[in-house]
């Protein structure tokens, strides 16, 4: 019987698990932890918190289909208008490492219309095999059609791992696929490794907006699926001498889901809004005092080739559109450099940007929480600091 149990011989009654439990399901009786099974959600927080390994989650062994004939590490090559998203190259780089550890091949899945020639680009970036489905139905991304295409590819070729970018497209697509295939999916991973002994994928992801990290496995189900956060892993280099196999597959028109019609795509007028792709983001917050002052953020951003972000306060004040908002109710970003100007650093903002590689904060309040996560900071008046920085980088 699956469930959770306390090993009384190991429990020292320290009470750490009580504090770790999010649903108050643990109490101390005679200096031993006791779990109220009607409250417990089996989340495992107490198991990780116990230094004495006194709490265990027991799982029944699942008898599933034979998983040993699943081979290959696949990457979903997301594209729009025939342009392959850079996150696909980051995934290929990682896939090559994982495939090396498993002794298998790297596959790329390319869906679209008139995209065949892009298969070579994926091979140059490290794919050994590219599975191409070329169909007018796949011209635009529609979750239902893309999902049907990939589910059928998986059933035919049986990959052991599938990676997709944790983009709006990747996240909504693979959730559908994982349910159809009855397999495990881990969202928004920041690290992927192979357990070399068990030959399984160890997926590391932030939860609680990065305040905790979780390691997740799907040992008994195939393929093991994960979405990977953009910009966390380096891109694979393009080597035009690489060769590989292109496997053309047919999209069966019976798979098309006619309940959903793509009507139009409207590119945001401001070209600098794509926070997901930006290497540098300059964000403005309440400290700007007025919407008109976003101009100095924009000028500075332009001088260093950065995208413009903002805190929630600036969006709520109507200074800048919602699409720029970074944080819990906005976007989660992970650029190489994040520059927060006049942003105090409420936890809701921090969870959206704290995994950026380098964080720079400019704020007049030395006690602002943003300085706690900053690698570099300037305590001062942003209206004086930013123009100096802009001037410097314009000349550079």
């Amino acid at each position: 019987m699956s469930g959770i149990k306390v090993i009384n011989e190991s429990c020292v009654g320290c009470g750490v698990c009580l504090k770790a439990c999010p649903v108050d399901a643990i109490s101390m009786v005679d200096k031993k932890a006791v779990i109220d099974l009607d409250r417990c959600t089996l989340c495992g927080a107490c198991v990780s918190s116990c230094k004495f390994n006194a709490i265990q989650i027991i799982r029944q062994a699942v008898a599933k289909e034979d998983i040993s004939n699943y081979k290959g590490v696949w990457v979903f090559a997301e594209q729009r208008d025939g342009e392959i998203a850079s996150v696909a190259f980051e995934l290929l780089n990682k896939a090559a490492v994982l495939a090396g550890d498993l002794g298998t091949y790297v596959g790329a899945v390319l869906l679209g219309y008139g995209v065949e020639e892009k298969a070579q680009e994926l091979i140059h970036r490290g794919a050994n095999k590219v599975f191409v489905m070329n169909s007018q139905v796949l011209k635009e991304y529609v979750a239902e059609n893309y999902s049907a295409a990939i589910v059928n590819l998986v059933k035919k070729h049986k990959p052991e791992i599938i990676l997709a970018g944790a983009t709006t497209t990747g996240r909504s697509l693979v959730s559908r696929i994982a349910v159809s295939l009855y397999t495990g999916l881990t969202a928004d991973c920041t690290a992927l490794d192979i357990d070399k002994e068990k030959k399984i994928l160890i997926q590391t992801r932030p939860a609680f907006g990065g305040n905790i990290m979780a390691q997740i496995i799907s040992p008994d189900y195939r393929p093991q699926m994960a979405t990977v956060r953009h910009k966390v892993m380096p891109e694979s280099a393009s080597d035009p001498t690489r060769t590989g196999e292109v496997i053309e597959e047919v999209f069966d028109l019976n798979w098309q889901d006619k309940r959903l019609k793509f009507l139009d795509f409207i590119k945001e007028a401001v070209s600098t809004v794509n926070l997901a792709e930006a290497d540098i983001i300059v964000s403005g917050g309440r400290g700007l005092g007025d919407g008109a002052n976003f101009k100095i953020i924009e000028e500075f951003a332009q001088s260093i080739g950065a995208a413009v972000g903002s805190s929630r306060a600036a969006v709520d004040s109507g200074w800048i559109p919602y699409s720029h908002q970074v944080g819990q109710t906005g976007r989660t970003v992970c650029p190489k450099i994040y520059i927060a100007c006049g942003i105090s650093g409420q936890i809701q903002h921090l969870v959206g940007m704290q995994s950026s590689k380098t964080i720079i904060a400019i704020n007049k309040d030395p006690d602002a929480p943003i300085f706690k996560v900053a690698d570099y900071g300037i305590v001062g008046d942003l209206f004086k600091i930013l123009p100096l920085l802009t001037k410097h980088f314009k000349q550079a």
Binding site: D38, A143, A178, A214, I266, E268, I304, F371
Partner: protein, 263 residues
Amino acid sequence: MNIVVCIKQVPDTVDVRINPETNTLIREGVESIINPFDMYAIEEGVRLKERFGGKVTAVTMGPAQAQDALREALSMGVDEAIHLSDRAFAGSDTWATSLILAKAIEKIADVDLILCGKQASDGDTAQVGPGIASHLNFPQATYVRRIDTVHLDTSPKIMIVERLLEEGYEILELSLPAIVTVVKEINEPRMPSLKGKMKARKAEIPTWGNKELEIEADQIGLDGSPTQVVKIFTPSQKKSGKIFEGEPQEVVEKLINEIKDIL
């Protein structure tokens, strides 16, 4: 229009702190709230009902205390609430959770639209909405920032929505029944009215367990969940950064000197 809103009770991130000695998350005394994104889903459901008539039902899965989230939803104008709770559901990952919610929606029957927040603020997976869609074989639109035209007199009923993407937005036409997950931009959630609070306090909230949903035991809980959490840990704390104070010209030069190699 028969609408179901799926909500989740989560710890309020504002209260979440890290114990610096043990490096663990302190959850003691942390208040539970409705996942912030679900508030927009509730509001959108109530607005659609106000425009087109019909009924909004809020559904949540969780332990007894999750009823508080349902009462809050009722106070905002939701008509009915259903609490999904069973020891057999504990340990469900997103696969099993979306199955349990899908089975509840099937039991509610004749649903036109399912609304969810784009993701929950504790798990951040964004998997359950599309997961429900896949279990029910409904079309889905995720990250919706606007529900535009709704035609209820056509067959099938249709709806036009705007999806917020990284580099812009797209416009989709969906046949109902469908699932829509929403982003913050879609609306401004209302405050509960006094009348709404009174109604919520008195409302009967049925609890459905697996006796009601009749799902195969090996598809729910730990046994039905493909993923397993092997370890939870707190990321190593960043060492404190270099903070400069002084004359603007001087501190700017110091900063440029530090970052010139990474730019």
